[in-house]
Amino acid sequence: MTEKIDAILIHKVFGIPIFVVLMWSLFQLTFELGSIPMEWIDMFFVALGVYIKTIFGEGALGSLLADGALSGVGAVVMFLPNIVILFLGIALLETTGYMARVAFLLDGFFHRFGLHGKSFIPLVTGFGCSVPAYMSARTLKNNKDRLITLFIIGFMSCGAKLPVYVLFVGAFFPKEQAGNVLFLIYIAGALVGLLAAKFLKLFVFKGVDEPFVMEMPKYRLPSLKLIWHTVVIKAILYLQKAGTFILAASMLIWFASNYPKYPEIEAAYAQKIELAQSDEAKVSLENEQAKVLLEKSFLAMIGKSTEGLFAPIGLDWKMTVALESGLAAKEVVVSTLGVLYALGAEVDEESEGLLEVIQKEIPFASAVSFIIFVMFYLPCMAASIVFAKESGSYKYLVYLFVFTTLIAWGLSFIGYRIALYM
């Protein structure tokens, strides 16, 4: 039986295409099927936010809970269906014995870049989210192979970076090319990741290769109980992260963008809004007020203090602070940009307004530089903490920070200069 299946699945010619199609289907399923309950969860959190504001009022407490805590946690819980489907698929592939075959098929290719055949599982998972990707790198027994894999997982663009790409590609490229550019971004990230692995293998984590001797398990039907157990544990861990870390980070960002308070400015605007003739004028005044207050918030202070470092790659303080808030979670990049360009916090990648403002206010070359920086810089805080745990030392997190920042800055610089001449 195993022999017959192997004749197809590890076929010299068809083996890799079959694997590519299987993975493609898994991703299609993850995003297509996952988007259905996603809308319900989104609606639930929006409704809950409205309800909370009716209880706690529009003041600081209501805003902290609804705009800070709830919108932050909601944005993460929303991805639970995708995560569950992805892990279900990976658990299925693992328990049937197919993963060992893929490691067999890909080892030759990966070996050339200093990676191990088994590295592919964490790398593929990295396109979903870096946190489970770092954890799944445990399957690599050799410490150096595992470290190289851990260092490049961040270059596989995770799901949370997608809104940033969709926003910028939509704003700066013609519609018929947008899909191709998006595809190019993902491929380029993976390619740079492979080259970075080669570099690390040659200069940093030198040493003898781990021999690739692996038992190929017989194919077997997956145990439902085992798969159920794996998926449930993954789901609980994910929700735990949302309820603890994301909760704290969202409230922090909310605080930094809302404080310190300037009662005089607020009073002045309250008067103007009171006197405004049309609803339109009211909204534009409210937006203007948010903008003025934001220019004086802690977040702006942080952004302006580091502006100089990003000037050579064409980024102003607003883009700088968006990148910095993205260190907490990549989802925050787009919502920060929305706030900063004075359109209120309820902006997602599909809102026409933000797209147009960005088109007008950000030069093309700076946009290119921004996209490249997002592709390669440090993963979010949750992922970074998991990285430190999995690599075994916070020392490696410092290395990761230096490594990713240098690559991101360097490539952004090149991209920016080239785009300037285009």
Binding site: T2, E3, D6, A7, I10, K12, G15, I16, A100, A103, F104, L105, D107, G108, F109, H111, G117, P211, F212, V213, M214, E215, M216, P217, K218
Partner: protein, 75 residues
């Protein structure tokens, strides 16, 4: 006498010598690959970079480089 790496899919043999040291030798031994074991080449990936062999009733995957260390007597 040939090296395991030179065998073609379908061919069988008996291991006559293993040139590996330390950990790798241990690993091969624990998977049943030792002097005197029956071995059968099953398949190889593109450019022969990885090979699948059958030892006893277990299936093993190894790289070309490791297969070069294993001497086999064709049967």
């Amino acid at each position: 006498m040939i090296m395991l790496s030179e065998m073609n899919p379908g061919e069988q043999g008996i291991v006559s010598k293993i040139d590996a040291q330390g950990e790798l030798k241990q690993r091969l031994f624990s998977l049943g690959l030792r002097k005197g074991s029956q071995i059968k080449m099953k398949a190889s990936s593109i450019a022969k970079s990885t090979l699948e062999v059958e030892v006893g009733s277990t299936l093993l995957a190894l790289r070309y480089e490791e297969a070069k260390m294993i001497q086999v007597k064709r049967v």
